[in-house]
Amino acid sequence: MSMRKSLNKAVIYGILAVLAALMMYPLIFTFMSVFMTAPEMNQYPPKLFPSSLYLGGLQSVLELIPLDRFVINSFVMSGIIMIGQVITAAMAAYAFSYIQFPGKNAWFAIFLSTMMIPWEVTIIPNYLTIKSWGWMDSYQGLTVPFLASAFGVFLLRQFFLQLPKELFEAAKIDGCGHIRHFITIVLPLARPGLASLGVYVFLTNWNMYLWPLLITNSVEMRTVQIGISMLQFEEYTAWNIVLCGVALVLLPSLLLLVFGLRQLARGITAGAVKG
């Protein structure tokens, strides 16, 4: 029995190790290439490990493209969208969970149905709208269409409904109105929910591709995702430099994953997810 058990254990560890190696390989390849020189990268047979901790590639990529500018753009864009979505979603979620108003159920159903509208249907008119407002190549063009999401409303509503009802009753007796109740009681208590939504929204928008591709033309307004993919098409760029760029772009997301995995997992598993 214990023989079989330890054999089982060994098999599980074996499969997991192989799977982990396969899944991690593309990333290991990327981070190994960061430290390779251009000739090392072009060698055949390809080298698996760099011969030294060469940092010239990182330097070259920063000289070749304004990566710092791209990172700032992505940070500002994702940050604005994150803050905006958390605020609008928290307000709407509060209305749906605590306030009695006519048409509440109908509005809730309408909000629910907006999750079914895929972005392809809205992207052409939204592109034309942003263009006609003269918002191309601007932060407002990048962010304003995304400042509200039905997904966020649902996620936070779930959190708000789980808060103890007695707290609100007690506050009401003390003469506490909705606005004060929202700001001083509900928001602080729902912090884990706000964090889940925040991390999730930040990462999704940090990784956004099609919208920034359509909305930005100038180099100054490019986000990291567009900047890094443009690097690929510069014909004479050495691979090690491109991969240095990729690694630098991946780093913030990886850090976010290390510190916010639990919040992120909660956001993802909260229900339907829009990609």
């Binding site: 593309p26 990327t30 809205t122 052409i124 008119p125 269409p145 991969l243 990729v246 997301s253």
Partner: protein, 320 residues
Amino acid sequence: MDAQHPELKLPAAPAVVQETQTAHKDKLRARRWKEGALGYLFLAPCLVLFTIFLFYPLVKSVYLSFHLTDPRGEVAAFVGLENYINLAASGQMWNSLKVTLLFALYTVPAGIVLGLIMAGLTHAKLKGMKIFQFIFSVPLALSVSTASVIWVMLFHPSMGMFNYFLSKIGAGPIQWLTDPSWALISISLMTVWMQSGFNYIVLLSGIQGVPEDIVESAKIDGAGPIRTFVQIVFPLLTPTVFFLSVVSIIHAFQSFGQIHLMTKGGPAGSTEVFVYSIYKEAFINYQFGTGSALALTLFAIIMILTFIQFAVLEKKVHYQ
């Protein structure tokens, strides 16, 4: 005051009661009105944004799809259903529909099976599982552009690692992205990898929700780990798997970035998925009318597919 006009108080009393009653009612109505207004105030930011960027575009898409447009997006002529008829008559739409269905077929079952294996194994109560759980979540950090750039290099026909490893085991080089019979498979491989983190997290949380005692009693009855998983855990996991399959198929039908970055729909249209067709029509050919018609067709297809899944598959789902 009462002492000065004692005679006035008694006859006036019923009127005062009535007055306070109506005042009370008014107050209540005012409070209710205020509460309702407050509700809409809290809803206002979402309502305004949804109206401008969701509801209006939805209507505008329908409107555009009945028209021809100039490159600036101005409506040039009303053509009725012609855009739709032309699309249905052209081979291009059917090709992209076929490619998208194949893409879903390659990525969705493979992604779910891979996720099940990883989630099932890392749920075992063994040392070091936290590390594996983190490793399998790492692809969550990937974006479509970083993942695509990495894989374009791995797929490179002469310098890429994949062909190098193949040559090591004596297999011939594969033209991963330029051979029409391989390109879609290559993109699917990359997509399964890119989405594995998401699938893993969803399935792991599903498995963690399976009641411990059910699994324990199966083990006491002498069921091995594989039999326990297939016969006990998996049936309880079917709601999660169902949810994941619905979301994954929608994702597959909405894929764009990896195709734009790796093949641009080529070679010979073999990777031209539906959204890439929309992009090409609207933002390369500037045909916003036909682009909108394509987008609405896709919307309809996704709705129908989701509906079918709920009607057919959900019956097999085991809800506790």
